[in-house]
């Protein structure tokens, strides 16, 4: 048992580290992250987006983009452990990110399995280069956790499909160039049999994107409306009616992409309890506070070492367990509880809103409002528990009333 790289891993790490130190600015501490010009008052969201595109292009040109992809599509043919090492090294630098994950992490791998060779050559290298952004048109007002319940309609006439309907919670739709899309092409077939999957140009006529304001105040995701949007049949991925299978490929990759919840963690609450006053003493000397700190440390450490066990499995060439589900459940709930408790310790001071990113209050307030989103995005706590029970522990699926009947006979959505 050791934490050392193998000789090959160490060589790769050095190569990555050398390139990063020559091309990016190192963080001075863990919270010293990349800040777009908008935060320094010099630009809008577009500066963060353009910075992220440019950083991706820089990596692409040096062979550091989409590490796990085949070289012919713009990747590096790197192993899983090399991908982990790169992520570890890159996280030490102040670099922009957060715009390419859906394309490179989910759309790309799906295209690789289902697109034609010609399409792969046309779309994947630009995706890797990072100047084209992709989004995922899956959830609908009546189909979130129950994704197969979607109703966006696809009708084929000749070799052109016409799409009508509405998608929701689409991150980045407002700046995306392309999208992956699941539709219903047969309302008489059972729920999982009538779906068809496409990719499309987000500039297609008939697409309307409306931002949704989240509880954080920001608007990172959107409603997307389709009115007679045309898609050529050549942009279908998988067979007609086989879209569920294709969507599962995408979702499997989503679970790999969703990791730790970002925001306050043990370090922040630990520092806060050392600084805040509690009946004339530092909060950390209070027994109740210490019990909570211990619990959060155990979760923090437990996730850290679970990740190391997974990395070890990758290093040996084994498949890591589906423990990514655990990471999101535990870290999102920990985030919410730490944020709530931290604001409690600040007492009245926490009531006064702060937008100053360097103010500890802003960090706790932002985390408290962001945590509910993280507990829902990419699989709710409840769906993830089902996944653990069914896929890890091998327990039976819930008895379903919607699997064999025609889709148009199944009640769905809100009835109130």
């Amino acid at each position: 048992m050791d934490f050392n790289d193998t000789a090959e891993e160490a060589k790769f790490r050095k190569e990555a580290s050398d390139w990063l130190s020559a091309n990016a600015e190192k963080k001075e501490h863990s919270r010293d992250v990349y800040r777009p010009a908008e935060m320094t008052g010099e630009g809008g969201e577009s500066s963060a987006l353009q910075d992220a595109k440019d950083w991706m292009t820089k990596k692409y040109e040096a062979g550091w983009a989409c590490l796990h992809w085949p070289k012919e599509y713009g990747g590096r043919d790197a192993t899983a452990i090399e991908r982990v090492i790169w992520a570890q090294e890159e996280s030490k630098y102040k670099v922009p990110g957060g715009f390419h994950e859906i394309g490179q992490g989910m759309a790309g791998p799906t295209m690789m399995l289902y697109a034609t060779e010609e399409q792969k050559k046309q779309y994947l290298p630009p995706m890797a280069k990072g100047q084209e952004i992709w989004c995922q048109l899956f959830s609908e007002p009546g189909a979130g956790s129950d994704l197969a319940g979607i109703k966006t309609k696809a009708e084929l006439d000749g070799d052109t499909w016409t799409i009508n309907g509405q998608k929701v919670w689409t991150s980045g739709a407002h700046y995306s160039d392309y999208a992956i899309l699941v539709t219903r092409s047969d309302f008489n077939a059972p729920k999982h049999k009538g779906l068809t999957y496409f990719f499309l140009d987000m500039k297609s006529p008939g697409i309307e994107v409306r931002p949704i304001r989240q509880i954080t105040g920001g608007a990172n995701f959107n409603e997307v409306y389709f009115t007679d949007v045309k898609i050529p049949d050549s942009q279908r991925l998988g067979e007609v009616g086989d879209g569920w299978k294709v969507a599962l490929t995408t979702l499997m990759n989503e679970r790999l992409a969703v990791g730790d919840a970002s925001g306050v963690d043990f370090q922040e609450i630990f520092e806060l309890t050392k600084e805040s006053d509690f009946n004339g003493e530092n909060a950390i000397s209070n027994g109740g506070v210490r019990e909570k700190l211990a619990d959060w440390y155990c979760e923090y450490a437990g996730l850290k070492y679970t990740k190391m066990r997974n990395i070890s499995a990758l290093s040996r060439g084994d498949t890591p367990g589906p423990d990514a589900s655990i990471t999101k459940i535990v870290s999102a709930n920990k985030l919410q509880d730490i944020a709530n408790f931290g604001m409690d310790l600040m007492d009245n001071a926490s009531i006064i809103k702060s937008d100053d990113k360097d103010d500890i209050r802003a960090l706790f307030q932002g985390s408290l409002l962001g945590a509910p989103l993280i507990r829902i995005a990419g699989g709710t706590d409840e769906i993830l528990r089902n996944i653990i029970a069914e896929q890890v522990l091998g327990m039976p699926q819930d008895v379903r009333v919607d699997k064999t009947v025609p889709f148009n006979e199944i009640p769905s959505g809100s009835k109130n």
Partner: protein, 369 residues
């Protein structure tokens, strides 16, 4: 990175597991719980034959000379098997205390006997309600003689060798007493988990040898080492409890279907798995720190201990709940794990103590980076 046990260690784990399965250790636990014997001598002999009492003892002292990592994998199987034997007392506590010692005479005299299972050792530490710490001992050692009262000594009526904490000047050190020495009075106490045996012991001017008398840190170190090993036991017990709950939920039908298909039950099982996985990962880091005698040991041991205590408690109580009424009967085995979970939560200091120790250790070490 190789944050996993070696193939050899995993093979050893498998062998120990097979032994306990073959010997039906859970049935043996019940026999001890219901019978008059204070431990399963036959099972103890089999464990000794397999060399499990000799793992960490150097070859020069009659041991196998392996390390703590090997002991960790064995501990997990002890926990899964809820074995009714004085293994933890003799191996994690007494043997480790003597291995830690700088007193070569003591090592030469006792380690071969402990390795061969001829002697069973234990650690006599607690003295009153509340939590045992390195500096609350009232038992005294002076001029080679030890006096005082110890309560709830694990396997105190079985052991023939006691490692005893006692005040020596302004330090609290560790001392060694032969159970048949003049002035030792052992009173067997009935135990909450009747598959294990406990005793109260009075020492009156008994002859004692010095294990460590120059620093109070020896006790803290011993408790930290034991905490990692007990945490592995707790993880083994927690996993066994979770698996029992799963098996039952798959085979029990209600409302026309397997109860394991209800989300109320599945989510309960998922939570057990989460708790168990976090505990197991923390135990692995504990094993690394223990095996390398790393400066991280105090933090790693407390982290492993706290999360494993939580995991075994949660898994053992929710296992009963999953079984419904049958889970709360004497006849079903669920309560054997529930009792053992409670015993292991208290034996080297309770959850609140270890949580406090954890935060103190973090404060001292300025972790995490």
């Amino acid at each position: 990175m190789n944050f996993e046990f070696s193939d050899d260690q995993l093979v050893m784990k498998e062998e120990v597991r097979k032994l306990f399965e073959k010997e039906d250790s859970v049935k043996r636990n019940r026999n001890i719980l219901e019978g008059e014997e204070n431990f399963d001598k036959d099972l103890w002999n089999k464990v000794v034959e397999m060399g499990l009492t000799a793992i960490t003892i150097p070859e020069e002292h009659g041991g196998i000379g392996l390390g703590f990592l090997e002991l960790c994998v064995v501990a997990e199987e002890m926990g899964r098997a809820i074995a009714p034997i004085p293994y933890s007392s003799s191996v994690y506590l007494a043997t480790t205390a003597i291995i830690n010692s700088s007193n070569d005479d003591v090592k030469k005299e006792y380690l071969p006997k402990l390795a061969a299972g001829e002697m069973i050792g234990t650690f006599a530490h607690s003295e009153e309600l509340g939590t045992p710490t390195s500096d609350n001992a009232k038992t005294t050692f002076q001029n080679g003689k030890l006096s005082g009262d110890k309560i709830a000594v694990p396997d105190g009526d079985i052991a023939n060798l006691f490692v005893v904490s006692a005040k020596c000047g302004d330090k609290v050190g560790l001392f060694l007493v032969d159970a048949d020495s003049k002035g030792v009075e052992v009173s067997k106490a009935e135990c909450f988990d009747g598959s294990r045996s406990y005793a109260n012991i009075n020492f009156k001017d008994v002859d004692a040898k010095i294990i460590e008398d120059s620093s109070s840190e020896a006790i803290d170190k011993l408790l930290n080492q034991a905490a990692v090993l007990f945490a592995f036991e707790q993880v083994g017990g927690a996993e066994a409890s979770m698996n029992m709950a799963k098996e039952y939920a798959m085979g029990r039908y209600a409302f026309g279907r397997q109860i394991g298909s209800f989300q109320a039950i599945k989510h309960k099982l998922a939570d057990m798995y989460i708790s168990l996985t976090l505990a197991r990962s923390n135990c692995y880091f504990g094993a690394w720190a223990l095996g390398n005698d790393a400066p991280e040991l105090p933090v790693a041991a407390a982290t492993a201990r706290v999360s494993a205590t939580k995991a075994f408690y949660e898994c053992s109580k929710e296992n009963i709940q999953t079984h419904g009424g049958m889970g709360a009967t004497w006849e079903f085995d669920c309560h054997l794990f529930y009792r053992r979970a409670r015993l292991l939560s208290a034996n080297i200091g309770g959850q609140s103590l270890w949580k406090d120790k954890l935060v103190s250790s973090i404060e001292r070490s300025n972790l995490p980076q």
